[in-house]
């Protein structure tokens, strides 16, 4: 590439973006590799049930599937919303400052 080409050219270093996106998606796909196909559907249905009682969104449910010799483990965890708890905690903290 000569000086003229160099001045004309504005390379975009997008390889970094590609690398980061791939790291995330490959890790995510590996974690569910070999897991049954019904998992995403089951996750959505579970979400509907949980929503009846607590307000959570899809990200709050994580499903982990592990295969050991002879048995399979389906691990389901639901992160309950902390928003309300946090808010009351914050208010309490503020209150303390005021009173203090």
């Amino acid at each position: 590439m000569g000086i003229l080409d160099f001045l004309k050219r504005k390379p975009e270093a997008t390889a970094n973006v590609a690398r980061e996106r791939l790291r995330i998606i490959v890790a995510q796909e590996r974690s569910t590799r070999g897991a049954p196909d019904y998992l995403p559907m089951m996750r959505n249905e579970l979400l509907e049930v949980i929503k009846k009682y607590v307000h959570v969104d899809l990200e709050a449910i994580s499903i982990n599937f592990e295969r050991d010799s002879g048995h399979e483990i389906l691990e389901l965890s639901v992160t309950l919303p902390e928003a309300q708890a946090k808010q009351t905690a914050k208010q309490a903290a503020k209150g303390e400052v005021r009173t203090g």
Binding site: I3, L4, E12, A13, A15, N16, L22, I25, E29
Partner: protein
């Protein structure tokens, strides 16, 4: 003696599977190994064109499976190397033309004919054809381009190789995986436009067995029906030779992965 079975696969189409199968098989033959290369892409036969034997196809893979022809009748002897043979894909539209038993019969037949290596050129995708191409493999060459969709698909293929093969199912030890990076452009890597060898190795957690530079010689070779490895003056051909040597156990440093250094005048005036 049983033949070593090598599948050339990728998941994504158009990354260089057939180009690689042709050069790998030819390279093994050049190294003195009796080699057969089989096109598993039923309905979309193409290996014959890349190998330059398209006008000599009489019987194909499915004919052998269905006992309509013998292996001996169906194997096409290469023009350049007399220890190299091509088994063409069938042009039938019947997707179920190949069966696991049929493929096993053909592979066993090749072992009985004292073949050292059988290279299986997989179709794209993860459907039946791709599954059958990898099922009996001892080695897998996973062809990947430095591009997001290709890298992701090859990770999926690596997963399948670890679970959906005879070796995996029978606990006979893993299929030996070789990652082959093709269409590599060191100049674009240098300015951050393309994933580097290291990036791809880190994302997939496996070292490359070779890096084939993007090269106009690949198209020229396919135009002529001559595997690019035969073009010993081309960088792509030399990179394939190195790759074959590494698969055969030799250690060779990677070539053509850096931008060639230019002289002062070239740098100033371009070219």
């Amino acid at each position: 003696m049983t033949a070593e079975i090598i599948v050339v696969t990728s998941g994504k189409g158009g990354v260089g599977k057939t180009t690689t199968s042709a050069s790998l098989a030819t390279g093994l033959a050049m190294a003195g190994k009796k080699t057969a290369v089989i096109d598993f892409d039923v309905g979309l036969r193409n290996l014959d064109l890349i190998m330059g034997c398209e006008r000599r196809v009489v019987y194909d893979f499915v004919n052998v499976v269905n006992d309509e022809a013998t292996l001996k009748q169906s194997l096409i002897k290469d023009k350049r190397y007399d220890n190299l043979f091509v088994l063409a894909a069938s042009q039938t539209r019947d997707k179920d033309a190949l069966t696991q038993e049929g493929v096993e019969k053909v592979l066993d037949g090749l072992s009985e004919m004292d073949f050292d290596y059988v290279v299986c050129d997989s179709p794209a995708g993860i459907e039946k054809g791709a599954h059958l191409a990898m099922y009996f493999a001892d080695h897998a060459v996973v062809v990947v381009n430095p591009e997001v969709s290709s890298v992701r698909d090859s990770d999926r293929i690596l997963g399948l190789l670890a679970s959906k093969t005879r070796r995996a199912e029978k606990g006979e030890g893993p299929v030996i995986q070789h990652l082959l990076l093709t269409r590599y452009n060191p100049a674009r890597v240098a300015i951050g436009e393309m994933l580097s060898v290291k990036d791809v190795e880190e994302i997939l957690g496996i070292e490359v067995v070779g890096v084939i530079p993007e090269s106009e010689n690949v198209l020229t070779a396919s135009n002529n029906g001559i595997p690019v490895i035969v073009d010993v003056n081309s960088h792509a051909g030399q990179a394939y030779s190195d790759t074959v040597a590494r698969i055969l156990g030799e250690e060779r440093p990677l070539r053509f992965v850096e931008v060639p250094k230019k002289g002062f005048l070239q740098r100033v005036f371009g070219g």
